[in-house]
């Protein structure tokens, strides 16, 4: 169910009405759970069973970690993590395994290739893992603890896993951040200005920018890119960078706005990533919920940067390769992760020699440009199979004399402008403190964005990150 579909709007209105009905105030969380299960079941009803199974495993094992015998805590957390990863491996990575090692035209290979990919599986299995690790480590006992009757734990955990704003494309929630928020909510406490800003910006980025750009970057696919000029290919690459940001950041903003309507605060998932002047900064600003998850539950347990330089570089590379594979069951994603891991490692290596001297503005600008160019090139691995990436790059070099597609180029640039302005606005307001006085007129911008949503939306398309 897409966030901009009529079915979703109807579900949202009904849920909102019953959620804040005083008569049903004691069952607010079950109302949201029911709504979330309907939301998930709409597209793939049979796979609702998998979601419920995953939630059941996490409920059982997390409860046993807390209330069971101390000697068995490790057993239960291990069991829970292994089951979560097995579900992910089975449904998400078996086609990759089949394509790499088996004959996919018949037998087991064909069966594995045909496995359905449950939407949102990468997100809710990671949340289950984070819950288990948090209850086992007990690091956040001041803010989060599982206690009380098992019925409450079942409801809270099912809610944590299935809450619809974040269910199918994040942000990936951490249990210790979400559980303390669970409780009765009041309509008068809803920050409608915050909700409106998030929803308007989110829907604008998704419906106007991303959905339109997706029709323009269609021509990046093979064999179409082979007959495009170098300039057209480069512009499409730039447009795709803007598209993937607008799509994912737009979704995340909508998720934040929707959650806020029901009194819940989700973490920001994007912090203007394309202004980053280093790769480590990029990963502090892009898909923040995933990068913090990987840091907390993979990079640091591997040793982080505490075991010498070489081990640090290996940990960075491994974390990013696995992070890449999380995105999709294809080797191109692993290569994408390796690119970023390699860049982080090289950057870390270079920092050991240059020290922490503050660079000048010009140098900062060029560093930012370099990071953006690298990140954009790497996005090609998201868009195309590996062999086509090589052909695409080759075409950029060889198609200099092919005629430019001016309509395509102009449209790509026009739709990319909002992404540029979005980042520029941040830079001007936070780093250069240029236009504080214009804050009074923000409503003009939001009004215009709303107008553009009504008159300039592209054809509805699924969020790119739904496939992960």
């Amino acid at each position: 169910m897409l966030f901009n579909s009529l079915e979703f709007i109807i579900l949202l209105v009904i849920t909102f009405f019953f959620y804040y009905l005083p008569l049903l105030s004691r069952v607010q969380v079950p109302v949201l759970i029911l709504s979330s299960l309907c939301f998930y079941a709409y597209g793939q009803p049979i796979l609702l069973l998998l979601l419920l199974f995953s939630a059941a495993i996490n409920i059982f094992t997390s409860y046993k970690v807390v209330t069971g015998s101390p000697n068995r805590r490790k057993f239960y957390v291990t069991m829970g993590v292994v089951v979560n990863l097995s579900i992910l491996a089975c449904f998400k990575y078996s086609p990759l395994f089949a394509k790499t090692l088996l004959d996919t035209s018949q037998g087991l290979g064909h069966f594995l290739l045909m496995m359905p990919l449950p939407i949102g599986i990468s997100f809710y299995t990671f949340e289950g893992i984070s819950l288990l690790v948090d209850v086992y480590s007990n690091k956040h006992r001041d803010s989060f603890a599982i206690k009380g009757p098992v019925k409450k734990h079942i409801i809270n955990t099912l809610f944590f896993i299935s809450f619809f704003p974040h269910l199918i494309a994040g942000p990936i929630l951490k249990a210790y951040q979400f559980y303390p928020q669970i409780g009765r909510k009041y309509l008068k406490d809803v920050d409608w200005e915050y909700v409106a800003k998030k929803l308007i910006m989110g829907y604008f980025l998704k419906m106007v920018v991303a959905d339109s750009l997706s029709n323009l970057t269609f021509w990046m696919a093979s064999p179409y890119f082979e007959v495009q000029s170098s300039l057209t290919l480069l512009t499409m690459l730039f447009g795709y960078s803007c598209q993937i940001f607008a799509d994912f950041a737009g979704y995340s903003l909508i998720a934040l706005g929707l959650a806020a309507m029901f009194g819940y605060s989700l973490m920001d998932n994007f912090n203007f990533p394309y202004i980053s002047t280093s790769f480590s900064e990029f990963w502090r600003r892009w898909h923040i919920s995933l990068s913090t998850f990987l840091k907390e539950y993979l990079y640091i347990p591997l040793g982080g940067n505490r075991k010498g330089n070489v081990r640090t570089y290996i940990n960075l590379l491994l974390t990013m390769v696995l992070g890449g594979l999380w995105h999709g069951a294809a080797w191109s994603y692993a290569v994408w992760g390796a690119f970023h891991g390699g860049a982080l490692a090289i950057e870390r290596f270079a920092q050991n020699f240059t020290g922490s001297k503050e660079p000048g503005r010009l140098r900062t600008f060029f560093k930012g440009l370099m990071v953006f160019c690298f990140v954009s090139l790497a996005w090609l691995l998201f868009k195309l199979p590996f062999e086509h990436v090589v052909q695409y790059l080759r075409a950029i070099g060889t198609n200099i004399h092919v005629k430019n597609e001016s309509t395509l180029i102009i449209c790509l640039l026009l739709y990319s402008i909002p992404v540029v302005l979005y980042h520029l606005n941040y830079v001007l307001s936070t780093q250069w403190k240029v236009h504080d006085r214009f804050r009074t007129y923000r409503y003009l911008a939001y009004g215009f964005l709303l107008f553009m949503i009504i008159v300039n939306s592209g054809p509805s398309g699924a969020f790119i990150y739904f496939q992960f």
Partner: protein
């Protein structure tokens, strides 16, 4: 802030509609293929005067220079099939006198998400009354039109382009595309063709029952491909089903064909112009449709 934003939005909407009422006239504002298809369909459905002749097809017949075919409206929709164009005709308020149907790719499935755009009566009514809701009037499309016009103005005064019968893509790329198509055309997908033929047959009967005449035409493709098993099977299937039927005619491929294509199936500009001339002469020939 919310109230002020809504007021701003409404204000922009009203002003934009007024601007569109004042600056009437069709402009080429499509930004991408899918949208251009929607624009074509909207212009047909919401036209002030009915069109007497309509062409339906795919990206192949979209190459034709319809401006030089007076009275003809093209519902040839790149990425889609003739059936989608026929559905648009059926969802309109009238039926044209003659429907020209491209036969190269008649057997594709209907794109329900496209034709579904025009199912809602409320949406259709709003679009007729409020031009800002039409795809052709998207602000970015209009901006793109003006930017494009500005740059093209600089080229005014240059001599009219002389079209050459050539293709401007690398030879190696063209050969690979042609080879790919040739391999695909070796295999006859009789299930798809036969099933498509049943659907097409029902649609043709519907059109005829509403007073239309139907004329099939085949777009020329690369000579290396046109006599391969699949195109031959498609051609023969159409002939076998519809030849001799009342109110049905055929525009067959010209005897002498010197067409070059961009990728094996889409005509280059020169070929499109030459074929359009041939098509026009055939349409005007008496007895084309029985």
């Amino acid at each position: 802030m919310i109230r002020k934003s809504i007021i701003t939005c409404v204000g922009c909407f009203v002003v934009y509609n007024l601007f569109l009422f004042v600056s009437r006239g069709e402009k080429k504002t499509g930004q991408y293929q899918y949208q251009e298809n929607i624009i074509k369909a909207e212009r047909y459905l919401y036209a002030a005067k009915p069109y007497r002749c309509v062409m339906t097809g795919s990206s192949l017949s979209d190459k034709m220079l319809v401006d030089s075919l007076p009275g003809m409206y093209s519902l040839s929709l790149p990425g889609l099939h003739p059936l989608d164009g026929i559905r648009i005709i059926e969802s309109g308020k009238y039926f044209p006198d003659t429907v020209f149907i491209e036969t190269n790719f008649f057997f594709g499935p209907e794109d329900k998400s496209f034709t579904g755009h025009f199912d809602s009566k409320i949406k259709n009514t709003l679009k007729r009354k409020l031009p800002a809701l039409l795809e052709s009037n998207q602000p970015v499309g209009i901006a793109r039109y003006f930017i494009g016009s500005f740059f093209h103005q600089e080229k005014k005064g240059s001599n009219a382009r002389v079209l050459k019968n050539e293709i401007n893509i690398p030879e190696s790329v063209f050969s690979r595309l042609l080879r790919g198509k040739a391999e695909a055309y070796q295999v006859i997908d009789s299930a798809a063709v036969d099933s498509g033929l049943s659907v097409l047959s029902a649609e043709v009967n519907t059109l005829i029952s509403h007073g239309c005449k139907v004329c099939f035409f085949e777009m020329p493709i690369s000579p290396e491909l046109e006599d391969l098993p699949m195109p031959v099977y498609v051609r023969q299937s159409i002939e076998k089903r519809f030849d001799g039927m009342a109110n049905v005619g055929f525009i067959r491929l010209p005897a002498s064909r010197d067409y070059k294509t961009l990728d094996g199936i889409h005509l280059n500009e020169y070929g499109a112009r030459e074929y359009t001339r041939y098509f026009k002469s055939e349409v005007m020939r008496p007895g084309v449709i029985k």
